[in-house]
C-alpha cells in the first residue's frame, strides 16, 4: 500500500463517513496525538471507540471555539514537533494560504497533520487526500472492524489507488484485504 502510513512533515486530508477511522489508525501508528475539535460539535470521536486503537491516557484534546483558533493551535502543535500527529476536525473549507501555513509548520516540526474535512472541501495545499467509506462484508468475524474502502483521491507525489482495509483489534494493526477477494 503506497502513501500509507502518511508521509511525515506534510499535512494530509481525509473525508468520507469513516475518515475518523483513518485518523485513529494513524494515531495508533504515531503513538501520541493532539486532537483538535471545535467545542460546539455534537458528533464526536468517542474516547471509548478510540480505545481500540491507542492507549487512551496518551492523546491530548484541544477544544477550540472556531476554525481560526483550530488552525492557530494546529500550527503551534505541528511546529512544536513534540507530538508526531495533529488531527484537526475542520468544518469550513481551507484556503490556500491557511493550507500552506500548515504545511510549513508541519515541515518545521517534522510532524504529520491530518485534516478531517467534509466531502468536497479539500484544500489545494494538501499532500494527499483520502476518502474513507464502508463496505459490506458478510464473512467477517463480528469482532473485526468494518471492511473499509480507502480511496486515495489526491496525491501530490505519486499515484492514486483504492485499497480495502480493516483494523484488526487483536493484533492492533491494519490489514489490507486483497482485491481479488471481491
Amino acid at each position: 500500500m503506497t502513501s500509507f502510513p502518511l508521509q511525515t512533515a506534510r499535512v494530509h486530508e481525509a473525508c468520507g463517513p469513516l475518515s475518523g477511522s483513518l485518523a485513529a489508525v494513524m494515531a495508533a501508528q504515531a503513538g501520541d496525538v493532539l486532537w483538535l475539535r471545535e467545542d460546539w460539535q455534537q458528533q464526536a470521536i468517542s474516547p471509548s471507540g478510540l480505545a481500540g486503537y491507542i492507549d487512551l491516557s496518551q492523546p491530548l484534546v484541544a477544544q477550540t471555539t472556531d476554525q481560526t483558533e483550530t488552525l492557530a493551535v494546529a500550527e503551534d502543535g505541528l511546529r512544536d514537533g513534540n507530538v508526531p500527529l495533529v488531527v484537526m476536525e475542520l468544518t469550513a473549507p481551507l484556503g490556500l494560504t491557511a493550507g500552506r501555513r500548515l504545511q510549513l509548520a508541519a515541515k518545521a516540526g517534522n510532524s504529520i497533520g491530518l485534516c478531517l474535512i467534509r466531502d468536497g472541501m479539500g484544500s489545494p495545499a494538501a499532500e494527499t487526500r483520502w476518502h474513507c467509506g464502508a463496505l459490506p462484508d458478510p464473512d467477517s468475524a463480528p469482532e473485526d472492524s468494518t471492511l473499509q474502502r480507502w480511496a486515495l483521491i489526491k496525491n501530490k507525489s505519486g499515484t492514486l489507488g483504492v485499497w480495502h482495509v480493516r483494523w484488526s483489534q487483536s493484533a492492533r494493526r491494519l490489514i489490507v484485504v486483497s482485491k481479488a477477494r471481491e
Binding site: G49, L60, T146
Partner: protein, 492 residues
C-alpha cells in the same frame, strides 16, 4: 539560653485597630463606627474614641447606636484587611527584635530579651514604639513584663511595666480578667470575691483547680512565670517577585526577552531554594508613561527552569505594547507549587516535560482548561465511562481494558421509525435507506438511577451492533420501557 526569669516580653494591644485603620485611609470628624453583619443583624465592630465617649460599645446593634447618636458615621468592617494590616504591623515590629508573634485579632507580642539595649533600653524602646505607632494614627496600649501573660495583662488592663522578677507586685492589683480567662470563669471568680490577681495568687490552689479546671491555674502560672510559654514568631512567607529598573527605556522584543531572562534566572534561584516551582507567572512591563502591561503565563506544570520558561513568554511579550518605552520589568510567580529536586536524567527533557510545554503553549492561546485529556470513570453508561479533564490539572491514568467494542463516532441518539425488540430489517437513517445484514446483541444498559439524566428518561436500553448491507455498522438501541429505536454511533 535564657531561663524564664530573664525573659522580657512586650505585649502591644491595639484596642481600636479596625477603626484606626479605616480612619487612616479616610479620616472623618465626629463619631465613627465599623459595622459587621452577624446573624442577620448589623452590629458595631469597632469604634473611634469620640464614639466611645458617647457611650457606644462593641457588639451593639447598629440601628440602636444610630438612634443614640444620630451623627454616627459608619462603614462596613473588613476583617480580612484588618488581619493583613496586623500582619504588616508584625513585619514592621521586627525592627525591634526578631521574635514577634500575633496575639489574637488585635495584638502583637514581642520577645525583646537581649535586644532592648539596641533601642537604648526598655524605657526608650517603649517610648519609640508609642511615638511611631501614634504617628501613624494607631491607638496602642503597651505592657512589658517577664512573661507573655504578664505583658498581656498589663497591656489590656492599664498599661505598665513590671520590673524583672516582680510580676506579682505589678499584676496584683489587676482584675482576674487580665489572666486571659474565659469571661464565664472571670465572672465566677468575681462572684467568689476573688477580684484581683493578688487575691487569686493567695487562694489555695487545689480547690480552685477542682472548681475551675487546670486552665485557670495554668494561666496564673504563665503570668507569674512559673510555667513557661513560648512566643512563636511567624515565618515570613517566601516572596517570589523580582524586578529590574532600566536606566534607558527599551522597546524591542529581543531586549524585553533578554531582561525577562535575567529576571527569570533570579526568580528560579529563589524557587529552587524553596523547592517550589511556578505555576502562574506574571510579568509586568512598566512603561515610561506610567502605564503597565501585564503578561500572564499559566504553566501546565510547576517549573523552575529559566531555559524552558523563557520561550513560553515569547508570544505574550510579542503582543505587549511597549508605547514610548519600558523602564521597569517586574516578574512575579503568583502561584507556586511544591516541586522537590529530582535527580538529573541522562537525557534531556522527557516526554511529560515536552508535552507540558506544548500544553502551556496551546493553553496560552485557547485557555489552559481547554486542553484536555481522557481519564477513566467508573460508569457503565457509554457516554460517561470516560471523563474529559483539563490536562494541566490532571495526571494520565491507565485505562482498564474494555472488552466490548464501542463505536468510534458517537452523537446524541437519533430516532428512527421502527418497532419491535429486534433490529428492523429495513430502515432509514440520515436520509439513507439501510438494510440490516447482521445484528449482534442485545447488550442491556440500565440507567444510573442515582443520577438524574434527561437522556435516560426513556429507561433502559438494549444496544445492538447492526451491520448493514451498505457497509456501515451502526450502534443502535431499543428502549423496551418506552418503545423506540435510536442510532447513537458508527463503528469503525
Amino acid at each position: 539560653m535564657f531561663d524564664g526569669a530573664n525573659r522580657r516580653v512586650v505585649s502591644l494591644w491595639f484596642p481600636r485597630l479596625a477603626s484606626d485603620r479605616a480612619l487612616r485611609v479616610r479620616p472623618v470628624d465626629g463619631p465613627f463606627a465599623l459595622t459587621l453583619k452577624q446573624d442577620n443583624t448589623n452590629r458595631i465592630h469597632c469604634l473611634n474614641a469620640v464614639a466611645e465617649r458617647q457611650g457606644l460599645y462593641r457588639g451593639m446593634v447598629f440601628s440602636d447606636a444610630r438612634a443614640f447618636c444620630p451623627d454616627l458615621q459608619s462603614k462596613p468592617a473588613q476583617p480580612e484587611v484588618d488581619r493583613r494590616f496586623l500582619g504588616s504591623l508584625r513585619r514592621w515590629a521586627v525592627r525591634y527584635c526578631p521574635w514577634v508573634g500575633i496575639e489574637g485579632e488585635d495584638g502583637l507580642v514581642m520577645d525583646i530579651t537581649g535586644s532592648a539595649h539596641l533601642a537604648g533600653g526598655e524605657a526608650a524602646m517603649l517610648c519609640d514604639l508609642r511615638q511611631r505607632l501614634g504617628r501613624i494614627g494607631l491607638t496602642v496600649q503597651i505592657g512589658l513584663g517577664d512573661t507573655r501573660g504578664a505583658a498581656w495583662a498589663l497591656a489590656h488592663h492599664g498599661e505598665g511595666v513590671a520590673p524583672p522578677g516582680e510580676a506579682l507586685a505589678a499584676l496584683g492589683p489587676l482584675p482576674v480578667a487580665g489572666l486571659r480567662l474565659e469571661p464565664v470563669i472571670a465572672a465566677a471568680l468575681q462572684r467568689l470575691g476573688l477580684r484581683t490577681i493578688a487575691h487569686l495568687a493567695k487562694a489555695p490552689r487545689a480547690p480552685l483547680a477542682r472548681r475551675f479546671g487546670p486552665e485557670l491555674l495554668m494561666r496564673l502560672d504563665q503570668a507569674l512565670g512559673t510555667q513557661p510559654e513560648q512566643i512563636s514568631p511567624q515565618a515570613e512567607p517566601p516572596h517570589y517577585a523580582v524586578r529590574m529598573s532600566l536606566p534607558e527605556p527599551i522597546g524591542l522584543e529581543a531586549d524585553v526577552m533578554a531582561g525577562t531572562e535575567r529576571l527569570l534566572i533570579r526568580l528560579c534561584d529563589k524557587l529552587k531554594q524553596q523547592q517550589t516551582g511556578a505555576r502562574v507567572l506574571c510579568l509586568t512591563l512598566r512603561r515610561i508613561d506610567s502605564q503597565a502591561q501585564h503578561v500572564e503565563l499559566r504553566l501546565a506544570r510547576p517549573l523552575r527552569d529559566p531555559a524552558r520558561i523563557l520561550p513560553l513568554f515569547a508570544r505574550g511579550i510579542g503582543e505587549a505594547d511597549a508605547g514610548f518605552g519600558i523602564d521597569q520589568l517586574r516578574l512575579e510567580a503568583t502561584q507556586v507549587e511544591v516541586l522537590p529536586s529530582e535527580q538529573m536524567g541522562p537525557a534531556g527533557p522527557d516526554r511529560q516535560d515536552r508535552l507540558a510545554d506544548l500544553i502551556t503553549r496551546i493553553g496560552a492561546r485557547i485557555g489552559l482548561e481547554n486542553v484536555q485529556r481522557f481519564l477513566p470513570a467508573d460508569s457503565h453508561i457509554p457516554e460517561r465511562s470516560v471523563i474529559i479533564a483539563p490536562a494541566a490539572y490532571s495526571k494520565p491514568e491507565p485505562f482498564p481494558a474494555n472488552p466490548r467494542p464501542r463505536p468510534l463516532i458517537m452523537f446524541p441518539p437519533e430516532a428512527i421509525p421502527a418497532t419491535g425488540p429486534r433490529p428492523p430489517q429495513h430502515f432509514r437513517w440520515r436520509r439513507m435507506r439501510l438494510t440490516t445484514m447482521r445484528a449482534t446483541g442485545p447488550e442491556r444498559i440500565m440507567p444510573e438511577w442515582w443520577l438524574d439524566d434527561d437522556n435516560w428518561r426513556s429507561g433502559m436500553r438494549d444496544y445492538w451492533r447492526v451491520e448493514t448491507t451498505e457497509g456501515r455498522r451502526l450502534w443502535m438501541f431499543y428502549t423496551p420501557q418506552n418503545p423506540g429505536w435510536f442510532v447513537q454511533g458508527v463503528f469503525p
